[in-house]
Point group: C2
Chain length 292, copies 2
């Protein structure tokens, strides 16, 4: 199967399995499940879920074992979006062309939906019937580290700091390493937690996740300058307008592009040359060359 | 050791171990760890942590294995307090005689401190070196279920609903079963997850946690009416003022007291008559007879 066919077929599985997790569990609060589902099922590229599946394949695990972990990662992604959009954070009324969670359900419910999704992700990991307790324990530990105070949450703290002043190059790098790369790394690593042999691939998964995450952000910064609103699907020039520090404070557009290419190449080193490695390389270059 | 001596000595251990978890892990954001620590270390009875320790003893586990789980429970308790106090929730400026987390650190940081504490709790559980992977997996699953959409978070949703209208007796019961009992149950159950034999005590732990939780809330409702501000340590009559549904909407003070006594007795049925059972009974009656 080609990269795009595999992506499409995996994402159909993920969408279907995610839906199941949001069948109302307690009749006393249907709105809570509705709000959790609203953001989780609102599209997005699902690249992180796909990474879980691909690193499971690469490291000799099964797709069946990867599905719950992939769903958990998408729940985490949804929780971060809901909390990031809240008025006390980025105060965004729109997300992917739809009103943000708190606009539809109110702030209190949105806050709680985020809390519930974060918690649900750990439940789903712990209840993964296709993975040994030892690998589940490893997965929970990795996930918590990647998205906690020294991961995604820490990145968000630094990002808020960056709204008040220009960051140094090192700080900017640190923000994106935590805010973007950490969850991408977690996805790759969780894929490797689907089999005992997977641990041999931890270093490859970390390097891939780290570099893909930074490259992703560099491209985001470039597109915000050179794209147009129709292609990008959101307003351009928003970084300059909000005086946000971006990679273009330290690189020319040409050099930024070269840097993204170099770390994309670096990401793919060590993947080997099997079928799954080939797909992961195609994914990396697909993200590098994207226009939105 | 008497119940009070054991409580005191266990809590010294918990305070010391909790402190260690908040030594700054990343120099880039010291304030995040400071805000996480601020609420977690702000006192409280630590009854939940003590329950983890006691149910470990009751079910044949070790205290050493119980400590990380007990610390995780206190982190969860702190996260719920931080999020509950936020302006979009209960909007409380004070907590245990000190300014709430968001008053000291700002709303965004408080929200993130709560998220980080919730995540850290799962990390601490997963990294418990004194418990087998199989029992860790069970503990993570139980904890997530007790504090998720069908547990504490669901209880909070119902509680917010209850601020808009009077609840029925069944709804009130459901609120407290989720909002208060769920985390107490989780504490007792996590104690039982410290050894393989512990699973035999799951039903006893559930019954104890459920009944203690409801009794705790009934007593809270009574004290809000019959106590005075000095004894209680917080303003009295606040439930009536905010038109909140309480157990006293359905019981006279005398009947409410009798009800709390009956379920405290029920909580203790099945504990057996060993040393740990005796301490758990003393704890139950200590909570029943408390004046603040």
């Amino acid at each position: 199967m080609s990269f795009k066919e595999l992506l499409k077929s995996d994402l159909e599985i993920i969408e279907r399995e995610l839906e199941k997790y949001f069948e109302v569990k307690d009749e006393a609060f249907p709105h809570l499940f509705e709000s959790m589902k609203y953001t989780t099922m609102a599209g997005g590229k699902r690249i992180r879920a796909f990474l879980v599946m691909m690193f499971a394949r690469l490291s000799g695990g099964s797709v069946e074992a990867a599905i719950p972990f992939a769903c958990a990662i998408e729940m985490i992604q949804a929780y971060t979006l809901i909390h990031d959009d809240l008025p006390c954070m980025d105060d965004d009324d729109m997300r992917r062309g739809k009103p943000s969670n708190h606009i539809v359900f109110g702030e209190a419910q949105a806050l709680l939906a985020g809390d519930a999704l974060l918690t649900y992700a750990f439940e789903v990991c712990a209840d993964n019937k296709h993975v040994s307790p030892s690998n589940i324990t490893k997965a929970v530990s990795i996930l918590a580290k990647c998205i906690g105070a020294c991961g995604t949450v820490g990145g968000q703290v630094l990002d808020l700091e960056g709204e008040k002043r220009k960051l140094t190059k090192e700080e900017l790098y640190h923000v994106h390493d935590l805010k973007t790369s950490a969850l991408i790394q977690a996805s790759a690593l969780l894929g490797c937690c689907t089999s005992d042999k997977g641990r041999e691939y931890f270093d490859v998964a970390k390097k891939y996740g780290h570099n893909i995450g930074i490259a992703f952000q560099v491209i985001d910064d470039i597109l915000d300058v050179i794209s147009d609103e129709e292609t990008l699907g959101k307003p351009i020039g928003s970084d300059a307008e909000s005086n946000k520090t971006t990679f273009l404070d330290f690189y020319s557009i040409e050099d930024a592009k070269k840097y993204a290419e170099a770390i994309t190449e670096e990401a793919c080193n060590g993947l080997g040359d099997g079928d799954s490695a080939k797909v992961l390389k195609e994914l990396a270059y697909y993200l590098l060359e994207r226009t939105n």
